[in-house]
Structures are given as C-alpha cells and as structure tokens.
Symmetry: C2
Subunit: 184 residues, 2 copies
C-alpha cells in the first residue's frame, strides 16, 4: 500500500520503529538493522535497502540520529546512534495518546472470509482447513522466534512473541465461529 497518514510529526511508522530499534540495539549500522528486521517473522516491512538507507539519512538530517564510521577488523561501516532529541521523539511516538494508534487490526484472512458465501460448502470446508494449517505454521514460526529471542534483560521482548501467540489463538477461535456459520 501507499503511505498511511504519518502518525506523528511527519514521521512514518517505519521511521519511528527504526529509530526505536537503534535505541534498543545501541550503535549499529543500517546493515545490522536490516538483518535484524529480516530475522523477525513480521511481514510488515521488507527491510529492503531501498527503504532503510534513505530512512536513516532522513533521521540523521532531522538530528534524531548521528553517525560515525566504525570498524570490525578491517571492515568499515557507518554506525548510527540515537540523540537525546531522538529519544524524546521516540518517547512521544510511543504515547500516550493512543487513540489514533489502536484500531481494528487488518487481517487478510478476515478480508477473504467476508466472501466465503461465494464458495460451495465443500470449498468452504477446504478453505477453513487450509486456514487452520496456515495458522499452525505461523504459530510455529512465532514460537521458534520466541525461543531464539529469550532475552531475560528486557521483559518486554518476550511480550512481543506472546502477542503473536495470542493473536493466532484469537484467530483460531474465530475460525471456529466461521466453521459454525458455514455449517448452517
């Protein structure tokens, strides 16, 4: 999709998220940011170079990040740190207020379910089965990620995966309701 209305002072959700990531990971290169995002099971952003490199430059231009050249062995890289202004911006973005932030979640599965009446009863059952299996896979993925994380330092990190688990559980329960509706 195209850019949603920017939530805060002209900063997109991705920009704020990356800002937070720099705060969380400490000094790090765009490459590391990209790698970190690619590891997470979230499909929200592609972590493409074309997104990240211009983005961190924008944040530096806004003085929310500063950069310096760093080395590991002989390899050079550009390392970004968050500035006090960056921390302030991040805190403001986190909120409250949250009224504009909390909305009904977008779920492509639900979007499709809206048109289940188009299918034959047999096709509907097949669809429901496929949905269940797909949810299983996502759950496995989330749990694998959870195991991989296991950072006792930040108690909120494990909450992230818990969110994914509850999300899947809720949708599974919802599938039950759909199944019931399909049977009538």
């Amino acid at each position: 999709m195209p850019r949603k209305a920017k939530s805060d002072a002209g900063r997109s959700e991705l920009e704020s998220f990356v800002l937070g990531l720099v705060w969380q990971l400490g000094p790090c290169s765009p490459y590391e940011l990209r790698a970190h995002m690619a590891r997470s099971p979230s499909t929200q952003w592609s972590a493409s170079a074309g997104a990240i490199y211009p983005l961190v430059r924008r944040l530096e231009a806004s003085a929310l990040l500063v950069s310096a050249t760093a080395r590991t062995g002989q390899r050079k890289r550009r390392e970004y740190r968050i500035t006090p202004a960056g921390v302030r911006a991040l805190r403001k973005w986190i909120g409250p207020p949250l009224s504009d932030v909390v909305t009904v979640a977008h779920d492509p599965l639900r979007t499709r379910a809206r048109f289940l009446a188009l299918l034959t009863p047999a096709q509907r059952l097949a669809w429901l089965e496929a949905a269940r299996k797909a949810l299983d896979q996502v759950e496995a993925q989330v749990q694998a990620w959870h195991r991989e994380l296991a950072d006792p330092a930040d108690p909120f990190a494990s909450c992230m995966t818990r969110s994914g688990e509850l999300d899947v559980a809720g949708r599974r329960q919802w599938l039950q309701a759909v199944r019931k509706a399909a049977k009538r």
Copy 2:
C-alpha cells in the same frame, strides 16, 4: 505505506476487496462503494475517491467489471457489475492457498510496546491504562457496527465483527501479560 507485493495476478489487496464488494453488494456505483467502506470501522483503507475511481476503471479494463449508466430519479450514476471472469478471479484470490496470506498481524500497539523499557515505571502504567481505554473504544465501535449490520442472509457477515471482538479480547489479554512484565 507503499504498495505491498501484489498477492495475486498483479492485483492489490484493495483491488480484490473492491471486486468482492461489487459481487456482494450487486450492481453499484463507486460512490456507493466509497460510502460502504467509509461506514466500516476498518482503517485499512481511506476509501478516497483518488483510490476508488481509478481502481474500478482498472478492473473494468481487465474485464473483471463492466459498467453501465443507471438512474435513481433524475440522478445519473455509473454502475458496475462483476463479470464471470471477475467471479473467477475473486474465487482464486480467496484461496486456498493461504500460506502467503496468513501472517502475524501488524499491530502498532505492539510495535510501541516493544520500547516500553524507555519509559519510567509510572509512565508505563499510564501507557497501559491508555491502551486499555483505547481498546475499550475500539470494542464499542466494533459492537456498534455489529448491531448496525445484523444481516441474517449472510452468516459470514456477522463473523466479520466477531473477528474484531476476538481481536480486541486477545490484545486485552496481551496487555495483562505486559502489565505483569512491567511490575517486575
């Protein structure tokens, strides 16, 4: 954000959704589509004219929709109907397969929670309280929508709102987990 990878044969999620809406509502004008989308509590799409009018034209160019001029009283409007090819495309989009469709949901609340460690304990409690209230509001909105709908003809319609309710319930439960983590 920018356009996600188009899920099907070059059609965006919005395009397929609108195609389904035309199927569901029967012959209707872009104006009606826009009004219908604006009534729903979903914030996924803005239902802006700049999105819808070019979109239905694209779908017509692909022969998934056909249009004709219609009248209510003296008022003229352009009415779109779905074609057999459109129905086929819609059915294909619904799936299965669903493996590419089902992912961990994007939740801006969760995104922000990731950085709760940045706040003071007092701020965290305030944040959690604000989140709870915001969820309450969303739930009320969903339930109002549910009452408004109440279409006994399509049993899947009421499943849509049920999804929203379960979604909110899951996130509320998740907030509990975060609260617990915050107390440690």
